[in-house]
């Protein structure tokens, strides 16, 4: 049996949990994005206290590594790097799309997963029941999306209610900590450990600068 710590500060709501294998034993959430940098460390201490374990008993740290708020992604990864470095704990990075895809109830259909980037820009990835990933995670403009959806006959899925305004037929699914914990536990034995020293958030967007 192994203890896995999961951290997600990529959006408005944060989610931290401690699981023993796939079973969640303690959870902390917050709905105030501006407080992620303060609360994450308080919540980490509370999780361990609640579970009655010490840092050196953690077997792995899993991070939801993007896409999402750049600052939010760096807060969780920086904290995790510090903890993993001290106790030589392996770090595993999960992109948001793979977690969302696992949590979709009916996957026997072509699916396009959309996340909000900014006005008229979306993070997008597509899956086919037989072919697997048919569109790697990417940044896409709303104007480029229609033809792709039609061509691949995609049904759109998201976790963000804001997208209803752009895509009235989009399916909104809920990610529960239990589902996420199940996915992390399933994947962690086969997933490659992250490069602790040089790993970066999965920004999916470059910095554009006008000189």
């Amino acid at each position: 049996m192994s203890y896995i710590l999961y951290i997600d500060t990529s959006g408005t709501d944060s989610l931290l949990f401690l699981s023993q294998d796939e079973k969640i034993i303690a959870t902390k959430t917050s709905a105030l994005q501006t407080n992620h940098s303060h609360l994450i460390h308080i919540h980490l201490n509370e999780l361990l206290l609640e579970a009655g374990i010490k840092w050196n008993q953690i077997h792995a740290i899993a991070i939801q590594n993007g896409p999402g708020s750049y600052t939010g992604l760096r807060i969780s990864l920086s904290a995790a790097k510090g903890i993993c470095y001290v106790h030589s704990i392996p770090l595993f990075l999960f992109n948001y799309f793979e977690i969302i895809h696992y949590c979709i109830p009916n996957k026997n259909r072509p699916i396009g997963i959309l996340l909000f980037a900014r006005e008229n820009e979306f993070f997008f990835s597509a899956y086919h029941p037989q072919e697997g990933i048919i569109q790697d995670p990417s940044l896409i403009l709303i104007s480029d999306l229609d033809s792709f959806i039609e061509e691949k006959k995609l049904e759109l899925v998201t976790v963000d209610a804001k997208l209803n305004a752009y895509f009235p037929k989009i399916e909104l699914i809920e990610l529960t900590p239990a589902k996420i914990a199940a996915y992390i536990f399933t994947k962690i034995s086969s997933k490659k450990e992250a490069d602790l020293f040089y790993s970066e958030p999965f920004y999916l967007k470059n910095v554009y600068i006008n000189k």
């Binding site: 920086s78 510090g82 903890i83 600068i209």
Partner: protein, 335 residues
Amino acid sequence: MASVILLAIESSCDETSASVIQDGQILSNIIYTQTIHEKYGGVVPESASRLHIRHILPVVHEAFLQSGITKEQLSAIAYTQSPGLIGSLLVGASFAKGMAQALDIPLIAVNHMQAHVLSNLIDSPRPNFPFLCLTVSGGHTQIVQCNAPLDMHILGESIDDAAGEAFDKAAKMLGLPYPGGPLIDKHAKNGNPLAYKFAEPLVADLNYSFSGLKTSILYFLQKEKAKDETFIEKNLADLCASIQYTIIKILMKKLMLASKQTGIKDICIAGGVSANSGLREAIQSHAARYRWNYFIPKFEYCTDNAAMIAITAYYKYLQGEFSEIADGASARSTF
């Protein structure tokens, strides 16, 4: 008494730095300088944050290796809390907090500007208290009276641009690449400092202003270039020498006044611009004339570095000034 061993992390702008200090002696001071900003003529905040998270662990690891200290020997971990670019500060703060809570040791939050002043306490000879410190960097210009390591107050500061910013922006007007301050210093060595006269500010008390000087340089260059397109090229050394002379004259005028008003003759300089050879010569010549004892930190302690965070944290540790894990980084603050 057991040794006090601290790890300090600095990430307030475009340098990722880590230092290990034992009983007030710096054992390592690793600095990774981000050069990507050179092509944009200034620091791009998002790029700076991205480079901090990429380099923070290699820099910290190297600081441990060079010091011969292990993580388990640490008494506390210090980080730059403010002021600075918030995205950059958060990387250092979050990493430091993660390490400190995993080791179950205290955290020490350090003010970057206070640390610049205390960089003068890293090596001998050290100034006696009270001393005055002129802190000049790309972001700040301050005259600080330091009565004890953790007892200092600002006597005067820039009400607009910093002196370092004036150097860099003047350099940009002259067509020199970023950061232009060191290049102005280089060309000034071959020029006449009295060749051109630029506006000097009339600011009350011990405060500074550099925005008027910047405008004065801009209008002067526009006027001369209208007459001769190659004016800058032909007169670069004289222009650099005159600009540098004017900035340093402004800086020294208020520093002399501060010394006169307080009666303090132990005078220090700190910050990135303290590497400027013209400023160093001015401090030396004023020291000789006004019987000052002057102190200038080693170059690696002038620019942004973690050793100055470490020395400040050392004094805070001795005073039991620890921070809470919930304390946040802040872009703006004073001490």
